[in-house]
């Protein structure tokens, strides 16, 4: 049985978290091993920004109890580079037919994740994505400081509502708002996104976290970006609480994620109201983790 999500028919309920699976890199590493065995029912791209970004200086990673902190800094080729170089490589992917109840191999829709630090930037990103038929849906990363206020756009319901409202009319494609967990009232943010016209919300993004340089006695941070985002099973109970609270508050579909390692973990997020579940950090430990989760949900 396929899953309906914002008008898209997906082979199953498991997708990837943005920035945790790179199709182009995976093809280089696994070659033909990936074709026809794509584990996710839709592919969510890394965050694309208007201008190219190099990302944060290393070190970018730290291992924590049952998780990790990343401070990658959203390296990407920028909108023009993404559309020109990456988009042709991200189309035509076929999902693993053994992960579907009917054994059918389905094409894998592409969800492009974007971030902009102003409404003007976002408008340009959304209009460009809207014009490309290869892109099935747009996910808005709002874990981004407002250039004027310095506050995360997604942490303030009023600001979030204004941003979503400003760009909603620019595309007819499904618009997913990826909520930040680093907010005082996450369900209020979800409701603001819904009222502004979002078709779905996804959560949780990583939790802001820090690690000190080994052996340092001066409080020096280890990560080149000073702080980073905590992910992995360490944050799973936080994800469950926030997904449950958001699903109770909004009527639009919820994509639940945060520390999912198994079908049982995914099932819990579905049980509290998620329509889809994303696998993120676990794909680092096993590139085919998404397939194990989807298979276990059959």
């Amino acid at each position: 049985m396929s899953v309906q999500f914002c008008g898209l028919e997906l082979a199953h309920a498991v997708i990837n978290g943005s920035g945790t699976f790179d199709v182009i890199a995976a093809r280089r590493a696994f070659g033909d091993g990936l074709s026809g065995r794509f584990p996710f029912a839709a592919f969510v791209s890394k965050t694309i920004t208007l201008q190219p970004r190099q990302g944060n200086p290393p070190p970018r990673l730290w291992e924590t109890p049952a998780g990790m902190i990343n401070s990658i800094g959203l390296p990407n080729k920028g909108l023009a580079g993404y559309l020109r170089e990456d988009l042709p490589e991200l189309t035509g992917m076929v999902g693993d037919p053994t992960l579907t109840a009917d054994g059918q191999a389905r094409p894998v829709p592409l969800i492009t994740n974007i971030m902009g630090s102003s409404a003007t930037e976002l408008a340009e990103l959304i209009e460009a994505c809207d014009a490309r038929s290869e892109i099935s849906a747009i996910e808005l990363n709002v874990s981004c400081p407002n250039v004027a206020t310095g506050l995360d756009i997604g942490a303030d319901p009023r600001q979030l509502e204004a941003v979503v409202r400003a760009v909603r009319g620019l595309t007819g494609k499904p618009l997913i708002v990826k909520l930040t967990p680093n907010a005082a009232d996450v369900p209020a943010c979800a409701l603001a996104a819904e009222e502004a016209g979002a078709d779905a919300v996804s959560l949780i993004n990583t939790l802001r976290a820090m690690a000190l340089a080994p052996g340092a006695v001066d409080g020096r941070p280890w990560l080149g970006g000073r702080t980073g985002g905590l992910s992995g099973p360490a944050i799973r109970p936080v994800a469950l609480a926030q997904v449950a609270a958001v699903a109770r508050r909004v009527a639009i579909p919820v994509v639940g994620m945060g520390g999912v390692q198994s079908a049982a973990d995914a099932r819990q997020l579905l049980d509290v109201g998620a329509t889809l579940v994303a696998v993120g950090t676990e794909s680092f430990r096993d590139p085919a983790a998404g397939a194990s989760v989807a298979r276990g949900l059959l």
């Binding site: 590493a29 049952a66 990658i72």
Partner: protein, 274 residues
């Protein structure tokens, strides 16, 4: 020089069995039975994690897999050189024959064979000598005998030299061979005959010394870098090193073997701190 033929890894981690583990001074050689896996190119690596009790060590870790160069591949076994430096390597060092191990790989780009006319010099330091062993095997099969220079900190680690054949040694404490740095041996070699390619792997400080010396001597260097990695297959963008001229290279995907000319400087924090 064409890059070493990169073997594609099977998609997903594979549950394999430990064939055995042997002491080599301060190191262990972990042998993993992999009868149906693809043959790796010299310089490629794999992500390893014990199938049981991966977690619950120091600091409630390890969590992520650990990247190891493939030190040797023969008779359906992949060999890895381990040194107990943290919760991940400690758990791997405790493995015994018959236990399960998760393996993703072989991954990354390996070494390229030397241009005709250039001799190969292998320069390794500490546990970083591992990929030079499989490279020595390959070069000897191709009919060339590389010069092997290995550096170690102290006596218990010198035993690691047994992984390769015919090595000349340097030690920090003078317990074997030249009392000093491997780069001093390398410099003398390059003065004697600079028509060479240097293949190096070791701690960041040593690699930076090799890189700088080769640049100064106008000798090509292929440097196998170490980096803390979350995934090993280009997904996390966590293992980057600065590329000469701007931007970053992913050690897992663009390396781990990177042409010295592509790097300005190898940072001291490069390597896996966990």
């Amino acid at each position: 020089m064409s890059p070493g033929p990169p073997a594609s890894a099977p998609f997903g981690r594979r549950l394999l069995e430990v064939a055995g583990i042997e002491e080599l001074g301060a190191y262990r050689i972990l042998r993993v039975a992999d009868p149906s896996g693809p043959e790796p190119a010299a310089g490629q690596f794999a992500m390893l994690a014990a199938a049981e009790r991966w977690g619950g060590g120091e600091g409630e870790r390890p969590f992520l897999g650990r990247a190891f160069s493939i030190a040797r591949f023969s008779a359906g076994e992949a060999h890895y050189l381990l040194e107990d430096v943290g919760p991940g390597t400690r758990r791997l060092c405790e493995l015994s024959a018959g236990e399960g191990i998760w393996v993703t790989g072989p991954l990354g780009r390996g070494f390229s064979s030397p241009e005709p006319g250039r001799r190969a010099i292998l320069a390794g330091g500490g546990v970083g000598i591992a990929p030079l062993a499989i490279l020595q095997d390959q070069l000897e099969r191709e009919g060339t005998e590389p010069t092997v220079l290995l550096g170690f900190r102290d006596r218990p680690r010198v035993a690691g030299a047994g992984l390769l054949r015919g090595a000349r040694l340097a030690t920090d404490d003078g317990s074997a061979g030249h009392h000093g740095r491997i780069t001093e041996l390398l410099e003398a070699e390059l003065e004697r005959d600079p028509v060479a390619v240097v293949y190096a792997c070791g701690p960041a400080g040593m690699l930076e010394g090799v890189r700088e010396l080769c640049e100064r001597s106008d000798v090509p260097a292929q440097l196998a870098l170490e980096a803390g990695m979350a995934c090993g297959f280009g997904a996390c963008y966590g293992c980057v090193v600065p590329r000469r001229g701007g931007g970053y290279l992913r050690v897992c995907l663009d390396g781990p073997v990177i042409d010295g000319a592509e790097l300005d400087h190898i940072e001291a924090h490069a390597g896996a701190p966990w």
